[in-house]
Point group: C3
Chain length 269, copies 3
């Protein structure tokens, strides 16, 4: 079994501290900024139509998350995504609860026209994006990751992008190559917006490693997997887990990523 | 002294993990989501007029908090509250700093027309809602809970709802039955938006226990009282208190609620 | 070497718990509120044009931070700043990433017309405000504090205000008297929005000590310097650092401020 060069991805991230333009939901903003800073990227949150294109053009990557969506923000997201495509800036779409309302489906359809480099979603969101029946009632994944793997592959092929579908087991595919990644900890779903922050971290790794988007995506997910496992060993609940996760991301080494421990496994499927 | 069946309320909350539609202020969003997740409910934050009614209809309960109010949000809150009433979805009003500006008074008056199931407020907010003189300069309670008990009863009778007035001692009334609850810790006012999160937690308990709204409300407050006491015993300041509070909410058992410890007391008055 | 009476500033802050009207970015709101509460001030976040002037007039101070700027918020900020000037309420400007886009420059220029009492910024923001070439790509300071000291003095003289330029070494000037303050910890830039929170804390100290704005500003920065040093000694990463910082701010004594330890130095230059 050969691993993608995940350790190298982290070295490049920290050497370049890429500026990640985050257009994310209000719940996730602070947490996302701290997750990026702890790992080694540089977050910037802004959304005004007067400046969003100007800023996307100077950012290393763009992360769009539709959590607390509104029409003004959707318009700014369109502008940013279009700019990202024009300037060759990699961008990530996090289609939070896309299956829950018609509004979210419309906004995501419009954003997909600007071809995200990566879609980071849970299983029910992936199912909703592919038009398959979804049980999603909101932000929770109610479809098992296993059941949704075919949907993820189909979505990656439809959109010519990488799909990083996260859950108890992560499934990552570019439509041709597929990986499963285990690890993390049962407390992770008890801390809000970790998935949102992971989407932005994927953007950070893409910015730092533009030639290897699949390895960059895997590296971001592996960071969460390993740091999540370690934080879970120290935590006595979701409060201490969140603190320990930031500390663990900060302490991660390239070697940690290159040689995943017993707790985490990554394999091609 | 017989206690309401608070332990059963927590069992039901965790068995059903109710979806709580939170329309809350920007300061409180992340903290509120984490407080709900730690205790056992499932938060979702969204506010766009395009989707708010659609979402309220599928949520188990709605929590409206006017902290960082604006006219667009006030209109969405109206829409959500009206939908909640039409669909029988229980909803909670948290009238942050209602006495501080005319704008807040107007918005709260309009929201009260949709008859919240519970009003969760501090003493000066309760006084302001009843039209009594308030000393409130903002988010702080400057009236003692004791002095405001009559105002709470009056408000509950006027609005045909439960009033959960929190402070050093909580006072809970449905206009007929009244309870006082002690516990918590002196550090709680030093952590921002705990009250906002408590309002959303009340909504979660209401969703899970629709037949027993008064016991559901008491259970939410008792969770904070007990977990707050325990967190305070571990904390060395407001930072470690917030972490310990989330861990303590996560660790709470139904037995903890059914048999309040020496630190906390609940009695009918 | 005689110190300004920093300890007295903290005594007054805690005795009066001044109400600080914070108009700050979405990322910083929760963190800022907690930093103020831990130290001893009382935060309130609101931004609606319907109430912002009414509230500024009753607040002890105003803090404006343009992090997640938009046109509606810029208009409310104008209204609040104008009201502050009319009512004699001290106010602080935090010009986040002002050099990054034309929109930010325009908004800051308009706000400066209302003459902030203090500008709290990093070196690249100070450079941008003085019209000097800035390397700022966003929220990071890429100019050394030393290099920017002359720009800070020039800005203070131009705007007739205090400039508190923070970084590895802080430089504080009212255009005539200048101070350098060391301390803090290398983990501070790894936690998001600490600078934003510091700006609001400066506002709190100004509110409590209107007769001594320079000492008040120094006291706020000294709080962060000392508490940051102490938190860094306990922390194992940015997660535990943030927790420890809140605890350390809460535990600060006036004596701590009056006699800065070996780790921190303050001297006039």
């Amino acid at each position: 079994m050969t691993h993608p060069p995940l350790g190298e991805m982290l070295v490049t991230l920290r050497d370049t501290t890429p500026l990640v333009h985050c257009m994310t939901n209000y719940v996730a903003m602070n947490s996302t900024a701290n997750l990026l800073l702890a790992t080694g990227a540089s977050p910037a949150m802004l959304h005004a139509p007067e400046e969003v294109a100007e800023f996307t053009a100077i950012a290393g990557a763009l992360s769009i998350n539709i959590g607390t969506l509104s029409t003004p923000w959707a318009e700014s997201m369109q502008l940013a995504a279009r700019t990202a495509k024009e300037t060759g800036t990699p961008w990530v779409l996090d289609p939070v609860a896309v299956g829950a309302t018609a509004f979210r489906q419309q906004v995501c359809t419009a954003l997909l026209a600007h071809r995200p480099n990566v879609i980071r979603a849970n299983a029910s969101e992936v199912m909703a994006l592919t038009g398959l029946a979804s049980q999603g009632r909101g932000v929770d994944a109610t479809t098992t990751t296993e059941d949704a793997a075919q949907a993820a592959i189909k979505l990656a092929q439809q959109q010519c992008c990488i799909v990083a579908m996260t859950g108890e087991t992560d499934f990552i595919t570019n439509g041709t190559h597929h990986y499963r990644l285990t690890g993390g900890h049962a407390l992770m779903p008890r801390v809000t917006t970790l998935g949102c922050g992971l989407s932005a971290l994927v953007a950070g790794f893409l910015a730092a490693n533009q030639a290897n988007p699949l390895s960059a995506t895997l590296a971001a997910l592996a960071c969460f997997s390993i740091a999540g496992s370690r934080a879970g060993q120290q935590a006595s609940g979701p409060g201490s887990f969140q603190v320990a996760l930031l500390d663990a991301l900060y302490a991660l080494t390239p070697d940690d990523l290159s040689s995943l421990s017993q707790l985490e496994t990554l394999h091609a499927v």
